[in-house]
């Protein structure tokens, strides 16, 4: 289960049009969401923190099993790249 959250647009809320553009540009095939635009706040950014981070979450307890931070400058390995080995380990039944 993968959830992609587009949590801000230049520090502000993200309209649906930008979510659509993002999904279409990168042909994202996983759950992709934004904060409810009517709330006009970046709740996810304030709660989960800045990009580019990946949380591996145990859905029974909602605990963050692992967290990976990628480069905000777009250089170096992404959070996904860093976490993929651990993810595969968890899916294979390891803890």
């Amino acid at each position: 289960m993968v959830v992609e959250i587009l949590e801000s647009n230049a520090g502000g809320p993200v309209p649906r049009t930008q979510l659509d553009a993002w999904v279409n540009t990168y042909r994202i095939p996983v759950t992709a969401v934004i904060d409810p635009p009517d709330e006009r706040v970046t709740r996810t950014l304030m709660t989960y923190g800045v990009r580019e981070s990946l949380f591996v979450v145990d859905l029974r307890t909602m605990r963050i099993v692992n967290k990976y931070n990628g480069s905000v400058a777009g250089v170096g390995p992404s959070s996904i790249t860093q976490g993929v080995t651990r993810i595969l380990e968890l899916l294979a039944g390891g803890m």
Partner: protein, 140 residues
Amino acid sequence: MRTRSRLLSALCALPVALAACSTDVAPPSNTTPDAAAVDALPADVALADLVTPVDVAEGPDAAPKPDVVAPADTAPTVGPYPAGPYGNRMGNVLANLSWEGYTNLEGSAVSTTLPYGPTSMQAVRETGRAFALVHVSEFF
């Protein structure tokens, strides 16, 4: 009651059919004599066709059993969202946020081809999956 008997036989025969998928497993000893008769039923006989109100009664004096009514809110049984304190560091409990967007569980299509609507971290829990990868991105 013959109809009831046929239904019970069909249900009893199910484990036998499953066991038959393995060549090493002997049939259970409680195979009913009617199992073969059930196998002989035409394939297009629907299970509902075998059930009548008569099936409810266990005997001539037995009162009919009431239908089982599902609760009004029949959500998947993952329980309430874990309590806080919440945080965003390894070992913390991630907060339950609400969002809107595209829920895509299968990964077989670009998400904008799917319905747009509300969702939440609790809804993610209710998928029944073991783990979630939650990735945050921003536009600049």
